[in-house]
Amino acid sequence: MRWIKEHKLVSFLCIAIILAVGFLIYSVSSGGSAADGAAGSVLGKLTSPFTTAAEKVSGGVSGIFSYKSLQKENEQLKKENQELQKKVTSLTLTASQLQQLDSLKSSLNYKGAGGTTDIVSGDVISMDGTNWMNIFTINRGTEKGVKKGSVVVSGEGLVGKVTSVGRGWAKVTSIVDATSKISFKVSGNLKILGILDNTSDGELTGFTLDSDATVSEGDTLITSGMGKYPAGIKIGIITKVTYNSNQQLQTVTVKPAVDFKALQKVSVLI
């Protein structure tokens, strides 16, 4: 004890390093989910009001400076709205047919392969302390039905998965930060299937199942529905196509559709 008092600095450094390494080892071995529990909930609750305030300030300020572009966007949205309303009218008939099919389904006790998916919207309340990783925390958690492994999307496309969750918070790892397989289809030709199985420097890499498939740079990839991700979610755009003669595979490099650094609102599929 006397030695510790006389050598405060060395003692502090040793204890702090041992603690930090211990937390790190535990966190890595548990898959980055060591933050669950009361600490995450309390700290998340502390930071959440400041995030909300900042979003309001940011929204107000950016609105003042982007008045003309907002006006233009408003006109465009009004036109789109009119077209969509016409489509809704034409789809009403289809909807009533669908309702009849649903009643038939339930009367025959038919259980379909796909179920309905609930969506929970949340705000990004904090980001990791780097400029290259894309791991962030949202203000929705177990109280809304969010679970570890829940798929997270945004208006731009597929964001990632929930890696740890607690009451009132969930940590999301983006698709470029986690090496998990994503089954894809090419948006312009739904018959072309493939798998994205690796990430490198913010991009996804993978291969098409048919090595003779015609894919090119600029093609949009969407989730195929096979695996953990529901079908039809935009993944990204192909930036490079190469043929790997060793493995005899057509490999693709994909830039994600989502701008992770600009994410503010996301939706979690329950």
Binding site: F23, G32, T130
Partner: protein
């Protein structure tokens, strides 16, 4: 109020302002690391600095819990930075603007490098050059905050050092 209590309030304010800054400047991708700047500046300015180092490590741990990929990664990075500052003070025992500016630049670079190293060992797929893509802007933001804190605190510390009854 005891200066350590004031320091704790400053660290708490930095911790709460960090997500505020991120949400205020979305799309920029870079926000100054307030806890790093505060811990580094206070460790540099004060001679009895174990308290500041402990606070910096503690709040870095809190930030890891809230938003880090792994708990302890930011804490370990900030401890390495603080130890580096002590070494810097030992070898460059002259306090002037140039030394402070050099330290302000080194602090961010060392922090980001150690962070990247630990993340790579833990399985991250990012190359060093990709990770350092925006380091210049990060250094700029952090250096500004560091120098502001340094200039505020050095005025308070200097009379303290010349007081023969301090301690």
């Amino acid at each position: 109020m005891n200066r350590y209590w004031k320091g704790a309030i400053a660290f708490l304010a930095a911790f709460l302002l960090q997500p505020f800054l991120f949400s205020l400047l979305p799309g920029l991708g870079i926000v100054p690391n307030l806890i790093l700047c505060l811990a580094a500046a206070l460790t540099y300015v004060y001679d009895e600095n174990v308290g500041w180092m402990a606070m910096g490590a503690g709040f870095a741990l809190a930030m890891d819990i809230v938003s880090g990929p792994y708990v302890g990664i930011g804490m370990l990075s900030i401890i390495v930075v603080e130890a580096g500052i002590l070494l810097f003070k030992k070898f460059f025992n002259v306090e002037n603007l140039v030394n402070s500016a050099v330290l302000a630049i080194l602090v961010t670079w060392v922090y980001q490098t150690v962070y990247w190293l630990i993340a790579t060992i833990a399985g991250s797929n990012y190359g060093y050059l990709y990770a350092m893509k925006t380091i210049i802007w990060q250094i700029l933001f952090d250096a500004v905050i560091f120098m502001i804190i340094y200039f505020i605190m050095i005025r308070k510390v200097t009379p303290h050092r010349t007081d023969r009854y301090f301690g």
